[in-house]
């Protein structure tokens, strides 16, 4: 399999035995955007890495709209370019591929990344940058932001951070990022997609670790676990402030519940694998960042709290027998009490939310019910907490939301002993 990818590159670029930079683009029917993405990349390479030897690789998973042709036309003779079929047999190979597909909107995305990691190893590249072909907001600056920390500062993994309206990414802000921070002691945004930077060390480690690609891990899209694995493995993580994130709508854009299953499921899944790492008490530290500081925006459309509250209340009414199995008695009592509050006075206390997330993690570990059901049953509680955050901060500016998110992170860290105790002695 690895040889097939290497052979395909060698056939198209016979002189490419060793390069400084590998620029990788996974694509699937992205003819409308890939041209502009490539132009921005070429401009960025010209501006920042004019003397470096570069190879652009497009892993196309079966586009029907001529995406690979556009890649070759756009790049021309400026830089060596190869179009490859990703490793493996695409989405049909894994029975869990549908879960991942509905999250990333691209079949074979994981196989494409594995191909890039193999090529980084084979080409002895000093850095690899992966840019999504459906991005409309890629600028020339992205290249230096994603690659320079690897080349000049010893970064192993450069994660993207985007400018977003204050309530966007509430799943990341209220759950994934605080959980990752409390577990592994790194203050990372846990934002996904758009672009990533990898060192050869990180690329080869990810490729070689089979547990990332096989078994239950195959359920989860690569974007949902990259940052978690990077911090858990102790890699040097940086964050690149990439500005706005504008992308074409994904083919199979996932509903919120599916996103939650992917993101939270991946976090819980790797908690089992990295138990030895996160059980140790650690104080969190910030990761280095590169790029211009970004300001949080105010949302352009109003947030409908009523619908979220309705979802929470319906969960309270209908999912109680399931929550009784998952939640600790004191957590359940706290959640039940929330049902008595009026919509205007509704507040989902932060400590209760943290306890809920930790109880779900323990229940996931203990397999008290089917894991997919468990993750999906978290959805109404997440809606309850999100609506509470909106109600608490609606009157304030973006800073107030950031303050609430930071408070959340600190509470997650402070209550970590609760998780460790329950995880060990349940």
């Amino acid at each position: 399999m690895e040889d097939a990818v290497w052979k395909a590159v060698q056939e198209q670029c016979p002189d490419a035995h060793q390069v400084d930079l590998l620029i990788a683009l996974p694509s699937f029917n992205h003819a409308s955007t890939i041209g502009s993405v490539l132009k921005a990349i070429l401009a960025g390479l010209n501006a920042s890495f004019a003397n470096a030897s570069i190879l652009i690789v497009n892993a196309d998973v079966g586009s029907q709209d001529g995406t690979p042709d556009i890649v070759k036309q756009t790049v021309g003779d400026l830089v060596p370019v190869a179009v490859i079929q990703p490793l493996g047999e695409g989405s049909s190979a894994s029975p869990f591929a549908l879960n991942r597909l509905s999250y990333s909107g691209m079949p074979g995305r994981e196989e494409a990344f594995r191909s890039f990691f193999v090529l980084t190893q084979r080409l002895q590249a000093k850095a690899c940058a992966v840019i999504d072909a459906n991005m409309r907001s890629v600028t020339a600056e992205w290249m230096s932001l994603l690659v320079k920390p690897v080349l000049e500062s010893g970064a192993d993994y450069v994660a993207p951070v985007f400018r977003r309206p204050r309530y966007e990414g509430s799943l990341t802000n209220n759950l994934i990022a605080p959980l990752t921070r409390s577990l592994y002691g790194k203050r990372v945004g846990c934002q996904v997609g758009g672009g990533y930077g990898f060192s050869p060390k990180m690329a080869s480690t990810l490729f070689q670790k089979k547990f990332l690609w096989e078994g239950e891990a195959a359920r989860f899209a690569i974007d949902s676990w990259l940052t978690t694995v990077a911090v858990a493995e102790g890699f040097q993580v940086w964050q690149a402030r990439l500005g706005a994130k504008v992308q074409d709508n994904k083919a199979g854009a996932a509903d919120v519940a599916t996103s939650l299953v992917q993101a939270v499921g991946a976090s819980y899944h790797y908690m089992e694998h990295y138990q030895d790492v996160w059980e140790k008490p650690t104080a969190s530290s910030a990761v280095p960042e590169i790029g211009k500081p970004m300001e949080t925006e105010v949302e352009s459309t109003p947030i409908h709290v009523e619908r979220m509250m309705k979802g929470f209340r319906q969960g309270l009414r209908d999912l109680l027998p399931i929550w009784e199995v998952i939640l600790a008695p004191e957590t359940l009592a706290g959640v039940l009490a929330l049902g008595l509050k009026d919509d205007d006075d509704f507040r989902f206390p932060l400590a209760l939310w943290v306890q809920t997330v930790y109880d779900f993690a323990v229940a996931y570990h203990e397999k008290v019910i089917h894991r997919e059901h468990l993750l999906r049953s978290l959805m109404p509680l997440y809606l309850g907490r999100t609506s509470s955050v909106v109600l608490e901060t609606r009157g304030g500016g973006p800073e107030m939301v950031q303050h609430t998110v930071e408070q959340g992170c600190q509470t997650f860290e402070a209550m970590k002993p609760y998780l460790v105790d329950r995880w060990r002695f349940q």
């Binding site: 979802g311 319906q314 209908d318 399931i322 397999k367 089917h370 059901h373 999906r376």
Partner: protein
Amino acid sequence: MSEMWQEAMIAAFREMMNRAVLFLPKLMAMVTFLLVGLAVGWLVKLLLMHILKVVRFEVFCERMGLTSALAKGGVKQRMSDLIGRFSFWVVFLFFAFMGVDALDLPATANLMSAILGFLPHVIAAILVGLLGILLANFSGEAVLIAAVNAQIQGARFMANMVRWGVIIFTGAMVLTQLGIAKEIVVAAFSIIFWGNRVGHGHCGGLRRAHDRQRSARAATASRKGRR
């Protein structure tokens, strides 16, 4: 006369004694079978419960919703206890039937072979029943959570429909497997299935008739308007 009476009495007594002597070992064999059955049944029960404990069967049952399903049905015992008890009775009955067979009575001739012939059906029925309950709970739970997340108001009703649909279907399969009221089960299913089809068809027909009527009324109204 007296001699004849005496001989008849002695012959009858001898006959009786002969029969008793012939029957006593068979009776002893039956008692032995019963005692061995008790001992083996108890051992099998202990062994099985120990294995179930080691493989954390109770946790599995809780996860699959089997424990809660039994609790809803009024069964308060743990699943592993039920299986242990069931295994005891299966083993004991097996030995008891062997004991009855050992008596060699004309009324119980071939009892053992008849029971052994039916045993596979019973085991298959039990397995189908268990799998059916698991599937019913799993599907019901999946539908409930999906419907709640989609904020559909009748989520619990939908989940119950699915759960009971699978349970009823399983019940029918179990009865068919046991050969009980096979014809009635098939007839009941046919009635329900065709009833649904006819009902849907009828509703569809009514809807189409209603649509036709409405469009005819609209056409008349527009003609009147033009006039």
